[in-house]
Symmetry: C2
């Protein structure tokens, strides 16, 4: 008791009007200034939400049950909370905040709930799809820095659905990864692989998130796309997606991931390319150069954006480890 | 496509600055005005939280994992999300908003995560505890309305921990309910039962909520108390708690549930009472009259509070089914 009385007021007779400041105060005892700040903003918004909506006990209980079901829908191969974050636009927002892109760099998009850690590391030139029903597509890609220099040794994670619009992890009998792989860019920053043409597909709608979308009269579709994630020491990790132009859902992606610069046209493989890469003439061809920012470039931009934003919001903060905390000095 | 273009803008190239309005817009297509309003406030606060904290991808992922673990800690007999709501002060706030009390009525407190639906209906005068190690306590209670008239036929749910500070559901080998019961008030509004003296106890701290409390340097204790829930057609349901005066945690309840009017003194059973109720002279005695508001009284107060609050917040709303929605007329 004595150890806390110095820091906190008696937590007694709390009312609609004074509960927030008291909860914030008792949540401010950590030595981690960032945690204290996150909790202060979280509790303030949570309480303001309840006050502005006059949230009923019945609605509160519905939310408790919704969150419980969402957690219980998660497994090693399904992440319903990421899906929820995606359809609320939070995932795109956080990516935009944390990974701002210098001019000319490839824009980011949502990670989504279907990335796995078990994709096989394949040599350049491999096929990453075993789906014979898919339309074959050759992908010829390069990675460069913001001044156009190729970057070798970049770890590239690639994943897409099969031709029916399902990721491997959506099959109950999945015994090994499919339509996903990891490659490493070569000395010229290049990596190429055989895949299948991406198709548009509905996100899993048999859980709480699907139910919510139906209640909101929203569709659950994503336009045809392929996921890429790039990592190398000294580079800001890039999580992005390429979308096929002309998809029915191009301007209504359920997870808000589409950016004009990420919408691409597929080409057709000509004779020379066919011979060089061992694919049929006329097969679909995806060509793309990914431009990655350095850690330094991104950090500088992120810090500047943060300080400007906090000033615009009228919040007096300083950055610790590149993240804002209240500036009490 | 045609069916949505009338209602939503192209969801493309969303930025930190325009994503919120666009997500809100696509979430406004339900015919349920209340749902649209809840989603609008939810998305606005969620996005503002990310913008004001410059939430990092790393922190976002930690939150995803925290929520996932919280959901997966829930079972038929454990509700970790209610516990989370409790320690963030949200549960107390929602109860205060949804169940305002007219003058003289008994104040409310948190439901907590340990109420169950399987408590036995016991006749008045029963013992609701089978814990021989507990200090015996006789409880003599009445229920009345706000003008002091006794109310018969009220269903009263009562639950407390055993003498070690654990609810029955916290035991892995629980085969039947213990330290909990349901009674019905008699023609004089009375109900009485044999119980044990409540003890202070730590909320379950082996899950994500316990970990969060430790990170926040907060203790996880509740002062000694007994839970009561009252229900009868025509009455506003009352969820409340009686606390024993002088508890070490009286002014630092981890779930913010204590109100001065709910802190009581125990008495000792005198000879006459001992003979009448068949308990030893000198045993502990809890006497309390619970005063319940009618549905009508509560609704009127809730509606007034809501309209006043929304006006103070500068929000133009009207009430539908006693809950605010934007007034667009």
């Amino acid at each position: 008791m004595a150890s806390t009385t110095n820091y906190t007021p008696p937590l007694l007779d709390l009312t609609i009007d004074n509960i927030t400041e008291n909860v914030v105060r008792i949540n401010s005892q950590s030595s981690d200034a960032r945690l204290n700040y996150l909790m202060e903003r979280l509790v303030t918004h949570l309480h303001d939400f309840a006050r502005e909506t006059r949230l009923s006990t019945h609605e509160w209980m519905a939310a408790i049950q919704f969150l419980t079901k969402t957690g219980q829908m998660c497994s090693d191969v399904r992440q319903e909370f990421i899906l929820l974050s995606d359809i609320l636009g939070l995932s795109m927002l956080v990516d935009s905040i944390d990974h701002p892109k210098p001019p000319n760099c490839t824009e980011g998009s949502v990670l989504g709930p279907f990335h796995t850690g078990d994709a096989p590391h394949l040599p350049i030139g491999s096929s990453m799809s075993s789906d014979a029903a898919g339309e074959p597509m050759l992908a010829l890609c390069t990675v460069s820095d913001s001044s156009g220099r190729p970057i070798s040794g970049v770890k590239v994670d690639i994943w897409e659905t099969d031709s029916s619009g399902h990721y491997d992890v959506q099959y109950a009998n999945r015994d090994s990864p499919s339509e996903r792989c990891v490659m490493t860019s070569d000395v010229d920053g290049g990596f190429w692989f055989k895949a299948i043409k991406p198709v548009s597909y509905p996100i899993p709608d048999d859980g709480p998130v699907g139910k919510l979308l139906r209640q909101l009269n929203r569709h659950c579709w994503r336009p045809a796309h392929m996921h890429f994630m790039f990592e190398k020491q000294g580079l800001d990790p890039l999580i992005t997606t390429l979308f096929l132009r002309g998809d029915k859902y191009e301007t209504s992606d359920v997870v808000f991931g589409v950016k004009t610069s990420l919408v691409i046209d597929l080409d057709k493989v000509d004779e020379e390319t066919a011979a060089k890469y061992g694919v049929p003439v006329g097969a679909l061809l995806l060509r793309h150069n990914f431009v990655l920012a350095s850690t330094e470039e991104t950090e500088k931009l992120r810090d500047n954006n943060a300080m400007e934003a906090m000033e615009r919001l009228g919040l007096k903060t300083k950055l610790i480890d590149h993240l804002p905390v209240p500036d009490l000095d």
